[in-house]
């Protein structure tokens, strides 16, 4: 079937903000799809509220709407755009759910808009767990004993009949929210209740647990002609019971024989045919390791995280092909974009092994519950390719950036494995490393298999690594042994450690024997057909396949896995850098290891090296690139801390770093040198001390005065950072939270409770151009990444603004910046204090680029290549502010992260962001909050518990809420304070006072908003913590900063009217920003 010519204008729905379970993979898929549709001559309109995406770049589509992904907004856009079709299969669950709503409300029918790719019925049959089970039975596919429960009673009955363990899975939720495996009656009670609540239709599937089976996934495609193919199958190393998003996954499957492989292939094709999906689909299976018995776990009738992984693993661009199918093409009519000769209708053959390892946020949330289960907790992932499984696994492991370059965690070195047996059985994020440690101590494969249920095949492979470790320790380092260790993925550093050598010595040995990796191509066809895809991975093999040119080139280092604090924003900047390099006529080369992102789409750069961002691996690529043509240098400014951290080791090896020099990067990052710089420029920063003991800390706090902000010096990214108000907490912090030793001192700064401001600037060494200033809504103390920010600033007077501009220019020049610089300030009493300078592209680059229409990363790249601002049409100065007001609202994934405190503080916790743009601040904010998924009640009850230090500040705020018609509920102290100030309030018990208490109020839906500010030393056991968690788990808005609450009131005011009774005393006019 050729292209459907009736479809001329298509509306694509994006996936919105990055949350756990729905991340950068949808920008990758969306971007690829949009390009494909544009190439077909279609008019493409996009709706996505996430500004940090490549897909929302103006050049990508005909029209981009960065508006909230709600039915109301989509309806408006549909009326205006009148597209012929809407493509909802690229924007994850969000887009699919929206499409269902739009269809069910009759909007699509009314406007004559076609659902492309998948029809309504298909979506429902695949997504509704009950309908899906029905379909499976009709097809004669095996289903697990289960029921669909709408009430606790139904669930209980089933439990009595089948017995535990049971698994509870809520319908229509993301990443398994609210579900889990229950082994005890108590667990069953809790999970069923939270599951019913989490499901928008109060529906849970309860089924027999088959934890321990092999978990296998098939990525498949179908066209309207009913041609069906498998793109890739994948095997989870972690058996069923751990969410695939949290599992270590290999592709292709390793332990299936042809019979099993084909059995599951047949089943997947049968299902996709029955569902009549036109596009891509993911089928998850559980396979009994000791028989042919299998079960279908679920089907995702759209592109997904797994399909992004499958695309990167095979080279087959699933999203592109899926969108071509959606507009009518048959698989047999589409050319395979990799070989350009064969057709898309074939099944990729791999001749390498792919390993994916998830990246979890527990380095940040160390108090969080690390146990892995049916709810996904990872924020990102890395992928490694190799010609041996060990090589691909080791590459992935050292791409994680969790402080290890080997399958080993220092913390567990020599910790007797008997002490962590339970953690092997009930997996958490560190299991892989614990398995390795246990093997190192001699645990047997059989024992390990019994505990973990991980297939012996994989355990053998892991044990192979230990065997080589032992040989390295014991035997002499022969060339053969060196070769063998390299082909199993060992780094020089680890070999050196095991053989008592220096890394340099190992490297010299290798150089003498010419043991270097070659680069192999990912070509979808195991070399059967000639292809020229510029997509490579390294391996210790014989033949090198790099197709070299003699052009001048530049290498851009990517940002690795997505984690809290280093998200998709950095990939955005990386992609722009590549585009700019190409525009400037250079060959653009990227090194990155994240399979979810746009930067690792082989269509983006001239050459993609899918490699760890580790010095040795990067140096190998550089060595390769230096063989031909001229390597101008390496760009480290866009890949976040990952790339900037490589600047030093690379320069030490003689590599040219483009842009700001290492020396200056160091001046910005080294605290002492930074202070010297500030002093020389006469710029203030919050006063601070470096301490190494409790006594020193107390002494420092006496000078600085409480509150202070403390952090260990050895971690970046706000980790373990805390605001401390008293001596006791300070001492506890020094003792408990941080291992104080002279090597890693603790930094103590005066905490300045002022307005936080962030400025990004471009500098060519001479002139400084400032695209924009962003004002934070929350005061300093809430991490800049977690604050609501507004552009242009709303409450900064002109003198202060000028001071900010002046300081920024001085700092940019003072650091001899070439490219981008990001500076965070805090303003107090008309003074400007510098909090931090990042000599690189920051998180705000995509947002600011979009709202100011200044392509910051591209300009920065050109500056690094030697152009100056004037040549690029810019100037020394501050870019005139735009009329439209744009608000950036952070988005959190707290629902997925059990036991993580939701209170905002100096540690970043958000996973994503959205934008709201409007003509007034209040409206922009309202939009932003809507886009962030915050359900703003226009009336109802507010539960207030506020620490003493905030009580006075809260009164005018609460009065504004009252004017809007809200009622209040508060615990004793807060309540009486409120009454004293003329507010009516209902008392509610603290937890220790007995039920019904605050938690009941939240669970029973009596409170619609919770305002709770952190008291000192709030622990997991405190009421505050429990209340905040209860709010998250029950979908109640919880505000932990009064500034956010102020902003919320003003947003609500912009859309609602007050209510007054006759003769009522009117509160003084409220202003959120006085």
């Amino acid at each position: 079937m050729p292209k459907n010519n009736e479809i001329k204008r298509v509306l694509v729905i994006g996936s919105g903000p990055i949350v756990i379970g729905q991340a950068a993979e949808f920008d990758y898929a969306g971007t690829q799809a949009i390009r494909a549709l544009k190439d077909e001559g279609l008019e493409v309109v996009l709706v996505n509220s996430n500004p940090a995406t490549i897909m929302t770049d103006q050049e990508m589509c005909d029209r981009v709407y960065m508006e909230p992904l709600t039915v109301d907004f989509l309806e408006k856009i549909l009326y205006r755009e009148r597209p012929d079709g809407i493509l909802p299969t690229l924007g994850g669950q969000t887009a699919l759910n929206l499409a269902v709503e739009l269809a069910e409300k009759g909007i699509l029918k009314k406007l004559g808009i076609k659902l492309l790719g998948t029809n309504l019925e298909t979506i429902k049959r695949a997504e509704d767990r009950a309908l899906f089970k029905e379909l499976l039975s009709e097809l004669g596919e095996p289903v697990i004993d289960s029921i669909i429960a709408h009430t606790w009673e139904e669930a209980q009955q089933f439990c009595q009949k089948i017995g535990l363990p049971l698994i509870i899975r809520p319908a229509f939720t993301l990443g398994g929210t609210g579900g889990g495996i229950a082994s005890t009656a108590e667990e069953f009670h809790t999970i069923v209740h939270s599951g019913l609540k989490a499901s928008p239709i109060s529906q849970c599937l309860i089924e027999k647990s088959i934890a321990g089976f092999k978990e296998i996934e098939y990525e498949i495609m179908r066209d309207a002609k009913d041609n069906c193919i498998v793109i890739c199958n994948m095997e989870n190393i972690d058996p069923v019971g751990v969410h695939t998003g949290d599992s270590i996954v290999v592709a292709p499957s390793q332990t299936l024989s042809d019979r099993e492989y084909q059995m599951l292939r047949d089943s997947s094709l049968k299902i996709i045919r029955a569902l009549k999906i036109e596009g891509g689909c993911n089928v998850q299976f559980a396979l009994d390791p000791s028989s042919f018995q299998y079960y279908v776990i679920e089907v995702n009738p759209r592109v997904s995280r797994s399909s992004a992984l499958a695309s990167k693993a095979t080279g087959y661009p699933i999203a592109k092909i899926a969108s071509l199918i959606a507009i009518g093409y048959g698989l047999d009519e589409i050319k395979n974009p990799v070989t350009k000769k064969t057709y898309a209708c074939f099944e990729p053959a791999l001749d390498y092994i792919v390993t994916k390892i998830p990246r979890w946020p527990f380095d940040k949330f160390n108090q969080g519950n690390r146990r892995l289960g049916t709810q996904m907790k990872a924020t990102g992932e890395v992928m490694g390719l190799g010609r041996t499984l060990e090589e691909s696994l080791m590459k992935a492991a050292r791409s994680l950036e969790i402080g290890t370059y080997h399958l080993e965690l220092k913390d567990y070195k020599n910790v007797p494995y008997r002490s962590f047996l339970e953690r092997l059985k009930k997996p958490d994020d560190e299991r892989l490393f614990l398995v390795m440690e246990a093997f190192r101590q001699g645990m047997s494969i059989n024992d390990m298999h019994e505990l973990t249920k991980i297939d012996r095949f994989f355990l053998q492979k892991l044990n192979n690594i230990i065997k080589v470790e032992n040989t390295l320790k014991e035997a002499t380092l022969t060339t053969e042994l060196l070769k063998k260790s390299k082909s199993m993925g060992f780094t020089d550093r680890k070999i050196a450690e095991l053989t008592n050598r220096t890394e340099e010595e190992v490297f010299l040995h290798r150089s003498a024997e010419n043991i270097f990796p070659v680069y192999k191509m990912v070509d979808t066809c195991a070399a059967e057909f000639l292809s020229e895809t510029p997509y490579y991975y390294s391996s210790y093999e014989e033949e090198n396949e790099i197709i070299q040119t003699n052009r001048e080139k530049v290498i851009v280092l990517g940002s690795g896995p997505i984690r809290i604090g280093q998200g998709i924003e950095f990939d955005y900047a990386t992609v722009h850098a590549i585009q700019a390099l190409k525009e400037a006529g250079y060959e653009a080369i990227i090194i990155n290891n994240n399979p979810e992102t746009v930067s690792t789409d082989f269509n983006i750069s001239d050459r993609l090296y899918f490699e760890p961002l580790n010095v040795e691996d990067v140096m190998h690529v550089i060595r390769e690139e230096e063989k031909f043509g001229k390597l101008k240098g390496v760009i480290v400014q866009f890949g976040g801390q990952t790339a900037i951290n490589l600047a030093k080791p690379l320069s030490q090896k003689g590599v040219t770093i483009l842009g700001t020099k290492l020396e200056d990067i160091d001046r910005a990052e080294d605290r002492k040198r930074f202070e010297e710089l500030l002093e020389s420029l006469n710029i203030k920063r919050p006063e601070g001390r470096t301490v190494t003991s409790g006594e020193e800390a107390l002494a420092a706090s006496k000078c600085l005065g409480f509150p202070v902000i403390v952090r260990p010096s050895y971690v970046l990214g706000g980790r373990a950072m805390k605001v401390v108000h008293d001596e006791e907490t300070l001492l506890t912090y020094m003792i408990e939270a941080v291992k104080v030793n002279p090597e890693y001192p603790v930094l103590i700064d005066r905490y300045i409770l002022g307005k936080e401001v962030e400025v990004d600037a471009l500098c060519d060494g001479e002139n400084v151009f400032i695209p924009g200033i962003m004002e934070h809504i929350e005061k300093a103390g809430v991490h800049s990444g977690d604050s609501i920010a507004v552009y242009p600033p709303q409450n900064i007077n002109i003198e202060t603004q000028n001071a900010l501009i002046k300081t920024t220019m001085a700092l940019a020049k003072g650091l001899n910046t070439k490219g981008l610089i990001n500076i965070q300030y805090v303003l107090l009493e008309n003074q400007v204090y510098v909090l931090e300078v990042n000599p690189r592209a920051s998180r705000t680059v995509p947002f600011l680029s979009k709202v100011t229409k200044i392509p910051m990363a591209k300009i920065a790249t050109k500056l690094m290549l030697g152009k100056n601002l004037i040549e690029l049409g810019l100037y020394h100065g501050y870019h005139p502010e735009e009329d439209l007001i744009s608000v950036k609202v952070p988005v959190f994934s707290f629902a997925k992260l059990v036991d993580v405190d939701t209170a905002l503080g100096p540690e970043m916790k958000s996973t994503g962001e959205v934008i709201g743009s409007e003509i007034t601040f209040a409206k922009a904010l309202y939009k932003g909050l809507l886009a962030a998924g915050i359900k703003l009640p226009s009336a109802g009850t507010i539960l207030v518990t506020i620490s003493d230090k905030h009580k006075t500040e809260m009164i005018p705020l609460l009065k504004s809420f009252r004017r809007l018609g809200f009622k209040f509920m508060a615990t004793e102290g807060t309540a009486s304070f409120m009454r004293d100030h003329g507010l009516m309030v209902e008392n509610v018990n603290k937890i220790h006072q007995g039920t019904p208490h605050i938690l009941d109020a939240i669970k029973e839906g009596k409170a619609n908003i919770v305002i709770n500010t952190l008291s000192n030393g709030d622990s997991v056991a405190s009421d505050g913590f429990k209340m905040r968690r209860a709010a998250v788990e029950n979908g109640v808005v919880c505000l932990t900063s009064l500034d956010t609450a102020h902003a919320l009131v003003s947003a609500l005011e912009s859309i609602s009217f007050g209510i007054y009774n006759l003769g009522e005393e009117i509160d003084e006019t409220y202003s959120a920003h006085s």
Partner: protein
């Protein structure tokens, strides 16, 4: 190295002079060597079926997927009793397989059948050589063989022409069943073909490749199946002659070599492909329905498209990638053939319906005959 065991080094030589060094993990040969045509297969699973497919007779098989032997060797997955490959080339083989059906390791299995095997090879490099230069003669030898010796061997040894004779049964074989009676002419049949027929209740009589029309008539079959097999179809002229005659008398289905023999019998021509099709991901387009199927393939020769004009054959299916012929049918007789393997094993089951089509063709024919009788 591990467990104190020292691996024996060995070498793989190609006729173009390329040499690879690896480790022996199959039949231990310290003085001898193994000669064959070096080919590659891109299937990611199914090594057991592939190695035991008689069509690989005389060939040194390279698996492009780097890890082989992961799930061991089962009792069930053989396509013939005895593997006939001349050697196996892999990147890495698995010493400790894991699968509930595994009985033994790949290495033990190869040793049992005296098949040399070499691991540690950059099989992607090897594949790219074969892709660019075509399949060529090769040699697996012990480490000590010199280049001169190897080249001498390669130059002076010819690829055999008696493949089919080597793998075909010598005396007829009978599989009782209640359904239709099929005579399968054995050019090196895969057990899965038999399995598919038996599953459809067919009684199967397997005859040697050189069965005459008279031999066949003796069994009063309902239909004839020309099996797959190794080598050049032109090397079995006696079979071509037989097919010429019997196609007039019985409904017929040909698979792989059987397809080529059927085409030759009807006046078409065949040619040697550069590196052939070996794998489980070959898209085949059915020209009448315009649907595409994924197929399992293993052939080094193909039917020449241009030569069909002289015949009564019509192309029914083509390979989507290179447009080579994947299926033909006779315009007047109830006979058809396919180049690929509808019996799969290893590979996708997309086209197993062809066996049903064959049987319904027989039924229709019987019905018509009944009318005319």
């Amino acid at each position: 190295m591990e467990r104190g065991r020292k691996m024996k080094k060995c070498k793989l030589w190609l006729a173009d002079g390329t040499q690879f060094t690896g480790e022996s993990f199959g039949h231990d040969f310290s003085k001898s060597h193994s000669f064959g045509e070096v080919v590659f297969n891109t299937s990611m699973v199914g090594y057991q079926e592939i190695m035991s497919d008689p069509s690989y007779y005389g060939q040194i098989l390279t698996m492009t997927y780097p890890l082989q032997g992961n799930y061991g060797i089962s009792r069930e997955d053989f396509e013939s009793l005895k593997p006939v490959i001349r050697g196996l080339v892999v990147k890495e083989y698995c010493e400790y397989p894991s699968n509930f059906r595994s009985r033994t390791t790949l290495s033990e299995f190869l040793k049992e059948f005296k098949i040399p095997a070499i691991s540690g090879i950059d099989t992607r490099k090897l594949t790219r050589i074969l892709r660019n230069k075509g399949n060529m003669k090769g040699l697996i030898s012990h480490e000590a063989m010199t280049e001169a010796e190897a080249m001498d061997q390669l130059l002076n040894t010819d690829l055999p022409h008696d493949h089919v004779k080597q793998v075909s049964i010598k005396t007829p074989f009978h599989y009782q069943n209640s359904g239709m009676r099929i005579v399968m002419i054995d050019f090196g049949f895969k057990a899965s073909i038999l399995r598919h027929l038996m599953e459809r209740n067919c009684e199967v009589i397997v005859l040697p490749y050189n069965a005459t029309p008279a031999d066949i008539r003796k069994y009063h079959p309902d239909g004839i199946l020309l099996s797959n097999g190794p080598g050049d179809p032109k090397d079995v002229p006696e079979a071509i002659q037989t097919v010429k005659v019997i196609q007039e008398e019985f409904p017929l289905m040909g698979i792989c070599l059987g397809h080529q023999i059927f085409s030759l019998a009807n006046g078409a021509n065949t040619y040697k492909m550069n590196f052939g099709h070996r794998g489980a991901n070959h898209p085949v387009k059915d020209l009448s329905t315009s649907k595409t199927y994924l197929t399992s393939q293993n052939h080094g020769y193909a039917v020449d498209m241009d030569s069909l004009s002289r015949t009564h054959l019509a192309v029914t299916q083509i390979n989507l990638n290179d447009s080579t012929i994947e299926g033909v049918k006779h315009q007047h007789l109830p006979c058809f053939s396919v180049q690929y393997h509808p019996e799969a094993a290893a590979g996708p089951n997309d086209t197993s319906f062809l066996f049903d089509e064959f049987l319904s063709l027989i039924k229709t024919k019987k019905y018509e005959r009944g009318l005319h009788a």
